[in-house]
Symmetry: C2
Subunit: 430 residues, 2 copies
């Protein structure tokens, strides 16, 4: 066998024998100095109970849940953040996940008037306004149109919003967990608009669509026609299966790279209009008040951003110094992530991380830095770059431009202080 065939593309660091904590069984052990005497480990030398009895049969869980030992890997909310339970937020446990796909069961929720139960047979989607022929689709109608599949991230505009004022929430789940990444199956919105006919709309350059949901809030948002005809999906599956109730069952809008509140759930109506509606959700909410009191409007695209998910406050280092995998997520609403750098000293020096796969447009990218920890303090940061050349800003850079009045669109570099104990804390560096 040639050396070539034994060497994988991402296998550079693994070819040296680097894990001195792996216990050896024989003489001349690489782990001779280790406290753990694995040769006498009954988990190796004795037959364990689970190897002596039948386990659970396949009837046990027709639809399975995580094992009890993982019961802390759940969506969590921060009760003081929002006014009432029906309009509040919970957060994806990104500190405990790996890879890029977010299971629906732990993908964050944000409702404007709670998650409703809407049967497929009661579902209707109206397309009206400046169209040649207003149409109403049943769910069954939608199933007859050509579908596409795409993996996209969905990030709430308020993700990391509490950090404008300082380092407030102690965990990646709470600072950056209003994000998920799923494989959607759905119909291009373009297809449905063309079914209704856009001749009546005239010049499409300055036209809009207004989209709203079937819940009490209706959560109406205006979307420029160019985006509506580009990559927006009318989706009915996520990660292969039906959307969950909390994610808009049976049909939601997917607006790749744009803020999550535009991904209207329980999608009810799409109106082609001459101008933006200037709804509550795009005037008093989801605008960014600057230092001088004026507001940024139409800040739809989520800029490039990243965060180290482990180590982090909820995922401390427990194994002491030596080999350490630093990992995290990066994403950009403007396209693909091209590079992520990691700093251990609060941004003074940087190392380029390994991307698990080449970045895909408007989808989460997993990065790893396979490194050694000397057991000393670290100020861990990550910095994402996207295909437009944009570089994720520091908190200071962002505040210089945007002031301190904002809630939304905080994409600054996050810092975790990792202590010699392995514990980590949310901090700011000047």
């Amino acid at each position: 066998m040639s050396e070539d065939s034994r060497q994988g593309p991402a296998n550079g660091p693994s070819r040296r024998r680097f894990l001195t904590s792996a216990a050896a069984l024989g003489a001349g052990s690489v782990a001779a100095g280790m406290a753990r005497a694995q040769t006498a480990d009954p988990l190796i030398t004795e037959i364990q109970p689970w190897a002596q009895a039948f386990g659970e049969g396949v009837d046990a869980t027709p639809y399975g849940l995580p094992i009890d030992f993982e019961s802390d890997v759940i969506r969590r909310n921060v009760p003081w953040l929002t006014a009432d339970a029906t309009s509040s937020i919970n957060f994806t446990p990104i500190h405990a996940l790996d890879g890029t796909i977010t299971p629906q069961g732990c993908a964050f929720e944000r409702h404007h008037s709670g998650a409703i139960e809407l049967r497929k047979q009661d579902y209707r989607l109206m397309i009206n306004g400046l169209v040649d022929q207003p149409l109403v689709f049943t769910y069954e109608d939608l199933e007859r149109f050509p579908r596409e599949n795409h993996v996209y991230f969905c990030e709430c505009a308020a993700n990391t919003g509490m950090e404008w004022a300082g380092a407030q929430l102690n965990g990646a789940q709470f600072t950056h967990g209003m994000i998920h990444n799923m494989e959607y199956s759905g119909i291009p919105l373009r297809t449905l608009l063309e079914e209704a006919g856009l001749g009546a709309a005239g010049d499409l350059e300055d036209k809009w669509v207004y989209v709203e949901g079937a819940d009490a809030s209706s959560n109406g948002r205006s979307i420029p026609m160019a985006k509506a005809l580009d990559d927006v999906l009318v989706a009915f599956k996520a990660n292969g299966e039906a959307l969950r109730k909390e994610h808009g069952y049976p049909v939601r809008l997917v607006v790749p790279g744009w803020e999550g509140n535009m991904w209207v759930k329980w999608l009810r109506r799409i109106e082609v209009t001459n101008q933006a509606v200037e709804s509550r959700e795009e005037t008093s909410k989801y605008t960014d008040v600057l230092e001088d009191g004026t507001a940024r409007k139409w800040t739809w695209v989520m800029d490039a951003k990243s965060v180290v998910t482990s180590p982090s406050p909820q995922s401390p280092i427990t194994h002491g110094k030596g080999p350490l995998v630093i990992t995290g997520l990066a994403w950009s609403g403007h396209g693909a992530i091209t590079r992520v750098d990691v700093s251990k000293d609060g941004g003074k020096t940087w190392e380029t991380a390994r991307l698990a796969k080449p970045g895909e447009k408007m989808a989460l990218t997993r990065f790893y830095l396979d490194t050694e920890w000397d057991g000393e303090d670290m100020l861990l940061q990550s910095r994402a770059m996207d295909e437009t050349g944009y570089v994720q800003p520091t908190k200071a850079q962002l505040r210089d431009v945007r002031g301190l009045n904002s809630i939304y669109h905080n994409n600054c570099i996050q810092t975790w202080h990792v202590k010699p104990s392995g514990e980590a804390e949310n901090v700011e560096v000047s």
Copy 2:
């Protein structure tokens, strides 16, 4: 806006107004002849209860499950197929899924002695045999090695096994549902073998690894060293989160493209050996008895295969004639799917389907045929081709070579008889 910017890559058929069943609201309606008078549909004209009250808050499901309306989309078993509950099989509801990712909660299970509960702190992985230094890893040790992320299908060798004798099981879930497709995060097995050191093994060309699980069956299998050093993963996450109990929590082997029983769950030990062990699972089981009584052995790779998932017996056509989306899955253990053809007349004529994305190596590929149904009988088939040029065989071709004694490795073309009523049935065509 130019025509170009309005036209997506897979959007050919959608640019004509083809869905005459979508009901129109105005005069001159495209749906003038339709029975449904949508203009008086109270689901459009009246405010519905779900738009008048708050829905469920974000505290409701810290780890969510599918909505009750989807309670039939679950793993199902066929009680008469296997001897007892602990060694039996259930099937992924592929007839109801779209896209390519399989959620863990409905991904098929096959256990040899039931699913065991093994805590991370009780987990040990031994590497021994012809290595320079036998090693035992804890779960925490494994977390310190460089990781990779890959999406792979896992198919049981017995998938479609009951169809050797005839058309027996009436549903894609039961004929083809011993398959799932997930994004794994794990360590290349190569990395761990090199950590133990392969100098002691000498020439690696003829060496093997023997892998076994911590459950009572141990389910030991021999894997040639070339595969072990190529793309095998020691995985601890699937679709981002911890493996479920039934999928081998906390650690399983991922053996891309090879039969599912080699993907050892609750992975306990990897021994480097001079020769194959010839275990029960690779002699009396998982070999293919031919017509003359001799057996094919070492039939590890799952050949190219496909199936139409909808319409199918569990997913009939309910909307009558007109636009119809025919969809299904294709995969190959030899690499990427390059093309899928669909026949409506039992293999006499074929149309090339649209692949939702270019095929990826050893991963499920979703195909669509966006077509019109004339309301007449169809004998629906799909035929996959992979990057090696291999073409999925007919049942007759496969039986000519392999006889009727086999259980495993049935990758023949499947036929669904779709009737004028829209119902579908598992049939054979000569």
